[in-house]
């Protein structure tokens, strides 16, 4: 029941809980990256809603703003903003992710002139200077929220929500472990869970996840696979891959384990310093962070081992510079360590790609000896 609710939420943009949240006079802001400090927003009764393409493959209007050399996930999201599907948002936080996202937010500002667009600057390195800077940025975001939405965000309230996030992260880790050894869920379920988490207030999401975890399924598969690479919210695509027999039992992407697996818990320190550490250090899972390649490789390797997978799929959208280049290096290194690896370049939500992807997955399953 809860699992199907989660799938339903993942399939819509403005879900029933968002509508209720708004009817209570609360705000919703759109963002596109896991560097967004969720507890800070929620402490001000502002729901951070992560932009996604929701399977939309039509980018005809967006293409006249962005170019065909830009990532199709970004173009898809821009299209949804331009056609009004995201009109329920009260503004945007332009979280510094990759170049494509930066251009997307600039075009949103240019074309739609939203009343609230705040730039959250996220460094590409982790050291004491960048952590100090990022703590300042988080404070600036708090002030921007307070100024724009007329709310007061207290440190106590941030801590309260940080503890809730800790609990959710813990639960998510438990949920992932239910997929590792003897899998009880499909990868498409896991992606739907992640998408729902990014679209709901945390006090709604937590009980939903808890009861969904009780709905263990009987799963058929030929091979167990870990999914890595660029952000992937395409539930339908995962379903198609799984229909071939390649069960996704773990993800290190930022719409997967990358968003919570390594996240530290609140330790009683200064709230802003803590949030800076929590989010910037966790971001090392993303190819946008420099000097952290070994960290990412080891993250994939250790999760692959723990989940006892037969192979790894490294996917990225065409024109994704960060993961396109990173995946080339990861393939070399993982293969060297005896982990069968498939690099999959695709267009977001493209039905035209499905046939090709299925053939490649089938060949991969055979290569893994399954």
């Amino acid at each position: 029941m809860s699992l199907s609710k989660i799938h339903e939420i993942a399939a819509t943009l403005e879900n029933e809980y968002v509508r209720k949240w708004k009817s209570e006079g609360n705000a919703v802001v759109g963002h596109a990256c896991i560097a967004m400090p969720k507890e800070m927003a929620e402490a001000g009764k502002i729901l951070p809603f992560r932009l996604r393409g929701a399977g939309n493959a039509d980018t005809s209007t967006a293409d006249s703003y962005l170019s065909r050399y830009n990532c199709s996930l970004c173009r898809s999201c821009l299209e949804l903003v331009l056609n009004g599907s995201y009109d329920f948002l009260d503004g945007f936080v332009r979280v510094r992710g990759c170049d494509h996202w930066m251009g997307t937010f600039d075009e949103i500002a240019h074309a739609r002139k939203p009343e609230f667009v705040h730039y959250l600057k996220v460094p590409h390195l982790v050291n004491e200077d960048t952590l100090e800077f990022f703590a300042g940025e988080i404070k600036r975001l708090k002030e921007a929220f307070e100024g724009r939405f007329g709310v007061e965000i207290s440190e106590d309230e941030i801590v309260r929500y940080a503890r809730i996030q800790d609990k959710i992260n813990e639960k998510m880790r438990e949920f992932y472990k239910l997929r590792f050894r003897k899998p009880n869920f499909y990868g498409s379920d896991a992606i739907a869970v992640m998408v729902a988490r990014e679209s709901l207030p945390s006090d709604i999401f937590f009980p939903l996840l808890d009861s969904a975890m009780a709905e263990k399924r009987k799963i058929d598969y030929r091979a167990k696979v870990l999914l890595a690479g660029s952000p992937l919210d395409e539930i339908e695509l995962v379903r198609k891959i799984e229909e071939m027999g390649a069960l996704i039992v773990a993800e290190t992407t930022c719409f997967g384990g990358g968003a919570f697996w390594n996240m530290v818990e609140y330790d009683g320190s200064d709230v802003y310093e803590f949030l800076a550490r929590k989010y910037l250090e966790n971001l090392k899972i993303c190819a946008r962070m420099f000097g952290e390649y070994a960290y990412r490789k080891n993250f994939i390797k250790s999760m692959a081992e723990e989940a006892e997978v037969d192979g790894v799929i490294l996917q990225h959208n065409k024109f994704c510079d960060l993961f396109g280049i990173e995946n080339a290096k990861l393939r070399m290194d993982l293969e060297k360590e005896g982990i069968p690896t498939l690099v999959l370049e695709k267009e977001y939500a493209s039905t035209a790609d499905i046939g090709r992807i299925k053939t490649r997955v089938q060949a991969f399953i055979e290569r893994m000896g399954r």
Binding site: N70, D99, D106, Y119
Partner: protein
């Protein structure tokens, strides 16, 4: 895979010969064309064109020296630091025991001076699984650097990455090479265009200087860095003199002088070689102004290229435009907005270098709070200052940031009456769009949009 030597090795051999040339006649250039083949021949014809009055040869010698110093540094026990174009080479010149080698300049040298252009090196990178939408500006040279594992190319000792915050693909391909070759990478980061961003950038830059000192095994000497930054001040003065000369119509500064300027900026700034190069450019332009020289009957278009130019055929693009009355006044890569600095101490000198790096093209625009607006403001400032009547975007296919905000640039430029042509090609890779198509589009734009607008204004 290929047994062809790397780009640096080949360019070194080729340019060594050029360093010995003193004088030449046009007949000799034509003769050279028939010997060296089309790829190098077109570049030789463009660089050695009479209108440049020897400035092209001078430029080749500057670049030859840049490469020679890097290749020969190893024998002298010095470290070779591979730097990206958006990083001030004067910092490396301040070291006694380190020399810079600039990635994008090397790619350009490969494209303009080697038979087969940069294609073998691009293909090598692709053969390793790197996707084909990465930036040719860096991937050609870095593809060649990857060949050093097969002893086909010379290996740099360390890599500086200066693009995080302004260009993902540039930063990422540098990281790939550092990981692949197992050499250290030193990275800076630009988070935006405000005061706190500058403070962070400065801290990271100085942190990197510190790491570099440790790596090279030498603390930068105060006298040496002061002398380097004083030379940089002289270069800045000459840069602005040349900029002033470009305001005349018809433009007395040949199209290719913009390329010579930034080629010098990216390699030898802060050195006597750069000062003499820029003196030569100013001198030639002043003479042309006095003599009223311009290769076409009329200057029809005064264009600002808002990002890069094309390097795939210097003669049939840069020279061809000028012969058709299309002046290439400046471009995005030349938008340094350099300043002169009061330098008395090592700290002053370092501060001046940090500030120059912060203001570098691309870092300045694409690392701003709003890429589209900063890009528009900078380039239209230059367009207005130089009385340009049009803007051209090369549509470099890898430039995801410029591509993504081009619409903002064009809409804003149109509001202030500057027509913009958007081309679609790869500045360093001729396989994407043929030169003839680019020529056709440029001519069409100039004749049907720019010239008509001029006529309307005159009526």
């Amino acid at each position: 895979m290929s047994a062809l030597p790397g780009l640096v090795k080949r360019s070194y051999e080729m340019l060594k010969a050029i360093e010995g040339i003193e004088n030449y006649t046009w007949e000799e250039v034509e003769g050279l064309y028939s010997i060296v083949g089309k790829d190098l021949g077109q570049s030789a014809k463009a660089l050695l064109d009479e209108r440049h009055d020897g400035a092209g040869l001078h430029f080749m010698k500057v670049i030859a020296k840049h490469i020679r110093e890097a290749v020969e540094a190893k024998d002298e026990g010095k470290k070779v630091i591979l730097i990206p174009f958006n990083f001030p080479p004067e910092l490396i010149h301040a070291f006694e025991n380190a020399v810079p080698l600039t990635t994008e300049v090397m790619s350009t040298i490969g494209v303009v001076s080697l038979e087969g252009q940069g294609e073998p090196y691009w293909d090598y990178a692709m053969s390793l699984g790197i996707p084909d939408y990465v930036c040719s500006a860096n991937t050609i040279e870095l593809g060649s650097a990857l060949m050093s594992v097969e002893a086909l190319e010379f290996t740099p000792d360390a890599i500086i990455s200066g693009a995080p915050g302004s260009c993902d693909v540039n930063s990422k391909i540098h990281e790939f090479v550092a990981e692949y070759l197992g050499i250290p990478e030193l990275t800076i980061d630009k988070t935006g265009g405000g005061k706190t961003d500058y403070q962070l950038y400065r801290k990271l830059f100085l942190r990197m200087v510190n790491e570099l000192e440790k790596f090279v095994g030498e603390e930068i000497d105060e006298d040496r860095i002061i002398s380097v930054t004083e030379r940089a001040n002289e270069c800045t003065e000459l840069y602005w003199e040349l900029h002033e000369l470009k305001k005349h119509s018809p433009c007395p500064v040949p199209n290719m002088f913009t390329l010579f300027t930034y080629g010098t900026r990216f390699t030898m700034w802060g050195r006597d070689e750069a000062v003499s190069m820029l003196e030569k450019l100013v001198d030639v332009a002043e003479k042309r102004l006095r003599r009223g020289e311009y290769p076409a009957e009329r200057e029809i278009a005064r264009s600002v290229w808002v990002y890069t130019g094309y390097y795939i055929d210097l003669y049939d693009l840069w020279i061809w435009m000028e012969n058709n009355g299309i002046s290439y006044l400046t471009d995005g890569l030349n938008s340094f907005f350099p300043n002169q600095f009061e330098i008395e101490t090592k700290e002053d000198a370092l501060e001046s270098i940090v500030s120059s790096a912060w203001n570098y093209p691309m870092t300045r625009q694409m690392g701003a709070d709003n890429m589209g607006i900063q890009w528009f403001e900078d380039l239209t400032y230059l367009a207005k200052d130089l009385n340009a009547n049009c803007a051209i975007y090369c549509g470099h296919h890898s430039c995801k940031q410029t591509q993504s905000v081009f619409r903002i640039f064009r809409d804003e430029a149109n509001k202030i009456g500057i027509p913009v042509l958007r081309l679609d090609g790869d500045a360093w890779n001729r396989r994407i769009t043929p030169v003839s198509v680019l020529q056709e589009m440029i001519l069409d734009f100039v004749q049907n949009v720019v010239a008509k607008k001029r006529r309307r204004r005159r009526r």
